[in-house]
């Protein structure tokens, strides 16, 4: 009791801690390249690292659809986003966002391409075999979708929705691959990087699926910032990304992410995407990316 009394008497009021001004939030949007929860987990270490190095409170926000990120970019107060190539081309055309950097994968690839694939046992070998079949897309704002449009366009089919039995947007590349694998769809279109990554984990993908068509190589998903971002902040963010591989902590984060480093990326790197869209007469400024 004495001890309690002493401790009670000797208790001192702690001086109120000096208020630290809240750090400026930097909101980065993510597209549902993978299962949205998996995608968020994949980028969280990166956000933590950027927070530590830039002094900003880097926060992630995932969108359920590619098109949402373009529609809600300003509304949600986004400062930047990791865009897929076609989504970036659209966002750049509509919002004026500017790309900073993109990852260089462990296999030295800094690009990806879209794929059209089917089950080997589906009997589908050409576009003719696709008639009346179920086609699983990721999103209208993906290169893989552009590839499909170009594929059908090259075979004289302007409206694939009429030609195919069913078209739907699974939302993620992962879901498209598994839908075709699990016979929920007959044909799928997704990016090769996700296809290959899943194939490593599930041998059925390589054994049971066959690729029918590939798009040209386009830049891997890169970080683009809104055009109003202060130039010094843009440089700080860019330098942090480009020097990550030189920092042991950053290197560890990159390894978790599945990349060697970030490389500088400019609008010019997306010229191929723009050209690819133009070939099938798609105007990026007026392109309808809403999945219907």
């Amino acid at each position: 009791m004495c001890l309690l009394a002493v401790s009670g008497c000797s208790r001192e009021e702690k001086p109120s801690q000096a208020k630290v001004p809240p750090r400026e939030q930097f909101l980065i949007g993510l597209i549902p390249e993978l299962n949205i929860f998996k995608q968020l987990e994949r980028y969280e270490p990166m956000a933590g690292y950027l927070s530590g190095k830039t002094g900003l409170r880097v926060t992630l926000k995932i969108f359920p659809r590619y098109g949402n990120i373009i529609d809600n970019f300003r509304l949600a107060g986004m400062d930047g986003a990791f865009f897929g190539s076609f989504a970036y081309a659209l966002a750049h055309a509509k919002l004026g966002v500017e790309v900073l950097a993109r990852p260089l994968a462990l296999d030295n690839a800094s690009t990806y391409h879209g794929l059209i694939f089917v089950r080997k046992d589906s009997g589908i070998k050409t576009f003719r075999d696709m008639k009346g079949k179920r086609f699983a897309f990721v999103d209208k704002a993906t290169t893989a979708y552009l590839l499909t449009r170009a594929y059908f366009h090259s075979h004289g089919i302007s409206n694939c929705k009429v030609y195919l039995g069913e078209c739907y947007f699974a939302g993620t590349h992962e879901d498209v691959v598994f839908d075709v694998l699990n016979n929920k769809a007959d044909i799928g279109a997704a990016k090769n990087t996700v296809f290959n990554r899943l194939a490593k984990a599930d041998p059925r993908i390589a054994n049971e699926l066959v690729i029918l068509e590939k798009s040209p190589e386009v830049p891997e998903n890169g970080l683009a910032l809104r055009k109003e971002i202060d130039e010094s902040l843009r440089i700080r963010m860019r330098d942090t990304l480009l020097n990550m591989h030189l920092d042991p902590e950053g290197k560890k984060v990159l390894e978790q992410f599945g990349a060697q480093k970030f490389i500088e990326t400019a609008n010019a790197d997306y010229a191929i995407v723009v050209k690819y869209a133009e070939e099938i007469h798609q105007n990026l400024a007026t392109y309808d990316y809403i999945n219907d």
Partner: protein, 483 residues
Amino acid sequence: MKRKIVLGLTVYSVVFLLAGVYVVHTIRTATADLDRLITLHQVEILREHYLVQIQRIQTDLTLKDTSHERTFDTVFRNIVNMGDIIDTCFDCHHSEQGTERLKELKRRTKEYKEGLSRVLTIRANPSRLKAEAEAAFQVGEELTTRVRDMIDITTSRLGEITKKAMNRIELTKNILYGLVALGPLVSAFLGFIFISGLTRPVKVLLESTRKLKGGDLEHRVEGLKDEFGELATSFNEMATSLKEQMLKMQRTEKMVIVGELAAGLAHEIKNPLAGIKVAMQVLSEEAGLSEEDRGVVKKVGQEVARLESLMKNFLNFTRPAKPQMSELNVNNLINTILTFYVKSRSISPGRPDGIRIEKDLQPLPDTMADPMQLQQIFLNLVLNALDAMPGGGTLGVRTFLEEGSDLIHIEISDTGRGISDENADKIFQPFFTTKPKGTGLGLAISRQLIEQHGGSITATGKPSGGTVFKIQLPLKTAAGSTA
């Protein structure tokens, strides 16, 4: 007593230490029980929370594509929270079986999340959308059932565990109350025993002291032990000594009175004796006195002379002269006595009376003493020794300085008839003599003179026959202080 006090304090300390250890142990056990209960309840709350979260998501699924549909962000946050809860479960320690159950739950949760992600991202025809939503809903329902079963089982177990823990805590509380109540009683009891152990002997000693003060010199302290027992022994010895000193003092006072009376009487006798002596001398010179009468007169004269000597010795005893101190060496004094006085009696080894002298005089430092009085003492002892050996024998004289002390030891021994233990105490009393013509004052005067010098004298019979007188004189420097 000291050992008892140490033992008592040790027992006291051990008792309280054990009680303290027990209290700490019980508090720790109770705290651990409560901690465990809190943890279990937290786990229970976590499970409930998990279930609520699943049900919330199921509701989100049900409300999808209706006017009450929640926003994507809200639904997404609910799903993330559900995942976080199951991850939190892995932070706690679980048994192998529990961990396996959790892993299965996590696998199902992952499956559920994959289905939900699909529902949230897919855009397709209504039948496909419905099928996807239904698939995810079914997984959610299975998960709900599984978690609810777990909650039912653990709630039942938790109830039992809580009851047991509360019983243990109640018991601990009662024991602590008991200790709190018993502690002061034990302290008071032990304190009473210790205080009684200390005060009782003190009281006995105090009463004995009062009795002694009241004149009861026969009273003795009994029944005390340990240090108090030793104190009682010392007290009893003191009482004995006090009694002896009292008796001695009474005797001395009596002797002083008798001595003063005798001295006065001796003084009164001395003058008539001088007259008788002169008259006997005059009478013995009378021409007409027959030879026979002249012999009688001469005999009377001799007896008068002996009475004069006796009176002189007696007066010396009753009114001893104050020592006239001067620096001297005891060995030199003894050598002088042996040379002049003993040889003057024509004694030497080989003579018919056969007295042999054995000297063992160790080097002695000079000391302050009255040479005349010391000479009187030593001569008296030597002559007594010679008288004790009418048929011859050995006169031993030994001196030495006791190592580590300031006492000069002088031992004068003979090989005569010896002395009984009974007489050893009496020979220093005035008028005690074993000689037919002795006055009984020689040794009494010797002891008186030695005591005036601050020394002591004792006489003991030797086992081989004869007597040894041992004198101890303090070594004094010219400055007057003991060396």
